[in-house]
């Protein structure tokens, strides 16, 4: 297994290389640059700036230099906010996104699994349709609608929770719910499907015939197989929760990496964009690897290839 993990980790390198190449040339070929018109700088200052950030060299040379720096763990200086390097910006902003993402994941797993498993126990009854209707609502109401509506109801009208911020524990409740609910909806649907399939199998009938309690049948015997689709979904989902919280960070004014990235993209902060993309891509690859390992652990028939 260790060999498998090492091989997968080595496989990250070419993938990240291709992504860096695509994004590098994509943002460079587009018109406009980080030191464009809207800032009043003289030609001389501009030339100095470009020399400092090595923007005056031919494009392919810049590309190879960038790759060389990345190989040495240096993502370069930020154009827009030169007070820190890109790596420092990521280290500064990412923990917030990570924390928010993990709360969102907790909400998604707890709500989603409870709803999905409950629904699967008595298919096509009220206890099935009820949770599944909520799941559909969770998928169809985007988080940039859900978030403001929650704020409107719980914060502004009832005054129970703060409108925005990221300091106290109560600040984190609404963002976590807003972020987690759509994923909870998918998890509910996936776990219902997975559980229904497992619950119809012979070994479950055997377990029931042995006289085991229903709780034991469901939680000990069926759950392990039934949550497989959820585990497969968790890879992209976790990555999405941690990286894709632009809207939630925007609504609740949370100083995370997502809002930082949107700003960087708007200001053509080349190094910041590339650095964040590479960082997010590495995270996604890592979560996919973790999911594959978890699947092999849950289902011994899965082999390491």
């Amino acid at each position: 297994m260790l060999k498998y993990i090492i091989r997968r980790l080595l496989g990250f390198v070419p993938t990240l290389f291709v992504i860096a190449t695509i994004v590098f040339f994509l943002i460079r070929l587009a018109p406009g640059g980080p030191f464009d018109a809207d800032r009043n700088v003289s030609d001389e200052v501009l030339r100095n700036l470009e020399a400092y950030y090595r923007l005056d060299a031919p494009l392919h040379e810049q590309y190879f230099r960038y790759l060389w720096d990345v190989l040495h763990g240096d993502l370069g200086p930020s154009f827009e906010k030169p007070s820190r390097t890109v790596s420092e910006w990521i280290a500064y902003r990412f923990p917030v996104s990570l924390e928010l993402g993990l709360y969102g994941l907790a909400v998604a797993l707890v709500l989603g699994l409870c709803a999905g498993i409950t629904a699967s126990l008595r298919p096509n009854t009220l206890t099935d349709h009820g949770p599944m209707t909520f799941a559909m609502a969770g998928i169809c109401i985007p988080n940039f609608v859900l978030g403001p509506l929650l704020v409107l109801a719980l914060s502004i009208h009832l005054g129970w929770l703060p409108v925005s911020g990221w300091e106290y524990p109560e600040d984190k409740i609404l963002p976590a719910i807003t972020l987690g609910v759509p994923y909870a909806a998918y998890i509910a649907r996936l776990s219902r499907g997975g559980m229904l399939e497992v619950l119809s199998q012979d070994f479950i009938r055997t377990a029931r015939a042995k006289g085991l309690s229903e709780a034991r049948v469901v939680l000990r015997h069926a759950l392990r197989g039934g949550i497989q689709p959820v585990v497969a979904f968790l890879g992209p989902a976790t990555a999405g929760l941690i990286t894709g919280s632009f809207v939630v960070e925007n609504i609740f004014q949370i100083p995370g990496l997502g809002s930082e990235f949107v700003g960087a993209a708007l200001h053509r902060d080349y190094t910041m964009i590339l650095g964040t993309v590479l960082f997010f891509a590495a995270l996604i690859l890592l979560f996919n690897l973790l999911v594959d390992l978890a699947q092999a652990w849950l289902d011994p028939r899965v082999r390491y290839e």
Binding site: C140, P148, L149, G193, F233, F246, V247, A281
Partner: protein, 299 residues
């Protein structure tokens, strides 16, 4: 799935008395699913309204009435007006046009790219397939929200590029689904028969393989439309998509969020429009999936 393809040698069913084909069965099953039918009806109504918007909208989408300002819904303005006195009902209608346009156009792009790519990979097999799918794997690990943001920021915020950008990232799953289908179909006798008959490969691919993957393609395409619409709304919400004074549900929701404390109607009506549309599409997609008996894919 394979019985959708009937070899020509089969005795053709007598006229007026057609056998229960896959599609007919599916239609019967779909009709029994009330939610899916309701979704279809709502979508059809939406389509008609969108096509007729320039004629039925009570005002122009950029027609301002600064003296009026934002007023709550009344008989003159069914959904109220926004801060510039623009009629919200009109703007929601025009936003619907954009949503549908982007939804269907981007899904079309993703459909073309994904189906052809997946079918080629699955049909050619071997090293070509491995290489092509490796590329898909790499693109999968590209954070795709970020990718679309980069594309829209750098290549202007015009609507054609917007749906090209969304379509360009949404074809991956389609390619995987079609490839899987084609790989399993390739083993079937009727494809072997085409080899025996000496049909050119392009013909086999376009006429015999792809038509037999239509079920999953339709289902997945139906489920892609709401995702794309959501993406458009999301980008417009962030200010990266459709730009004012043009209207879009994402844009309207963003404007609504700014003043939701005092003018909740500005948030509620566009949100409702978007959510109802997404509900309809998802119910229809689920219904089609059950009707065509397509096994749920990974997502």
């Amino acid at each position: 799935m394979s019985d959708a393809h009937r070899p020509e040698q089969d005795a053709p069913p007598a006229a007026g008395e057609r056998g229960a084909s896959l599609w007919r069965d599916a239609l019967v099953r779909l009709r029994r699913n009330h939610l899916a039918v309701a979704g279809l009806v709502v979508l059809f109504a939406l389509l008609v309204v969108s096509l007729l918007t320039p004629w039925i909208a009570p005002y122009g989408y950029e027609e301002q009435d600064l003296a009026l300002g934002a007023v709550p819904p009344d008989s003159a303005h069914w959904f109220g007006t926004d801060l510039l006195g623009r009629d919200l009902f009109t703007r929601v209608l025009y936003g619907g046009r954009i949503s549908l346009l982007v939804g269907f156009a981007a899904t079309g792009v993703s459909l073309c790219v994904g189906v052809l790519y997946g079918a080629f990979a699955g049909y050619l097999g071997g090293r070509t397939d491995a290489l092509m799918m490796r590329f898909v794997d790499i693109l999968y690990s590209l954070p795709f929200v970020i990718f679309v943001i980069i594309l829209t920021v750098y290549f202007g915020r015009n609507i054609v590029l917007l749906f090209m950008a969304i379509g360009a990232v949404e074809w991956l799953t389609m390619a995987r689904i079609v490839r899987g289908q084609v790989m399993s179909l390739r083993q079937k006798e009727f494809i072997e028969a085409t080899t025996v008959m000496g049909l050119p490969r392009r013909r086999v691919l376009l006429w015999h393989l792809i038509p037999n993957t239509l079920g999953p393609i339709i289902v997945y395409a139906t489920l892609t439309v709401p995702r794309v619409m959501l993406m458009e709304a999301f980008l417009s919400y962030l200010g990266l998509g459709v730009q004012a004074p043009m209207s879009s549900w994402g844009l309207l929701i963003n404007e609504g969020v700014q003043t939701m404390e005092n003018r909740p109607w500005m948030l509620i009506f566009p949100s409702l429009a978007l959510s109802i549309t997404l509900f309809s599409l998802n119910f229809l997609g689920d219904g089609l999936r059950d009707a065509l008996d397509v096994r749920a894919s990974k997502d």
